[in-house]
Symmetry: C2
DNA sequence: ATATATTTGCCAAACTTCGACAAGTCAATT
DNA sequence: AATTGACTTGTCGAAGTTTGGCAAATATAT
């Protein structure tokens, strides 16, 4: 049930010696929720990523990338055709570029 | 608002000279819903894909792949970091194999 | 035992998607 | 220009899912 995003933000938070209690209010949530987010049981709202990145002194694009990757993974995690589906959108996105 | 899945099943249906009116009841829905599904405004339930594949004489894996690709695309379609996120899960899925 | 940090369980509120129906458009036919 | 048949669109309540907030539980250190 772990997520790459959750693991990353926990690592960053702990690295900065911050407690859930300190970070959660900055995101207007309680510690229980942030705990769940770090453990991948809840999703942080997309629009809160920049704020969290600044709190954790991280690159917001890096965090967003992990967050998106988790959303994608959720869809294909139990699908044997997952890789194939990924190839299909990869193509589609390439074509759409610019 | 088009989806690859929707375009495909419409193409197949039309190719078989079937009307929405004929196909929809086999999926236990009305024509309006199937029309929306073909136009990408509603999602077919994952578990109905095999039945639809058999109605349309298509390979169910092929349809499922497109269906999954549409779900993935929905997440990254407006994201400039989409390709990066896709690379990230692609890696993750490779590692998980077997 | 107490204090602090985190986790878990629960449930109502908020949000999203779906199903069903009615009314609408469009093209061909009479 | 009225009718018919195929498909589309809009609406709206129902059903389903996710979230937020609280209280209690656990864990660890003092």
């Amino acid at each position: 049930m772990d997520t790459q995003f959750g693991i990353m933000i926990r690592t960053l938070r702990v690295g900065l010696n911050l407690y859930l209690r300190q970070v959660a209010p900055l995101l207007q949530m309680d510690t229980a929720q942030l705990s769940k987010i770090e453990k991948g049981q809840r999703q942080l709202k997309r629009e809160q990523i920049p704020l969290l990145a600044s709190i954790l002194k991280a690159d917001q694009n890096d965090l967003l990338t992990l967050w998106l990757a988790d959303q994608l993974y959720e869809i294909v995690k139990d699908e044997k055709l997952g890789s194939k589906a990924i190839q299909v959108i990869e193509e589609k996105i390439k074509k759409r570029k610019h």
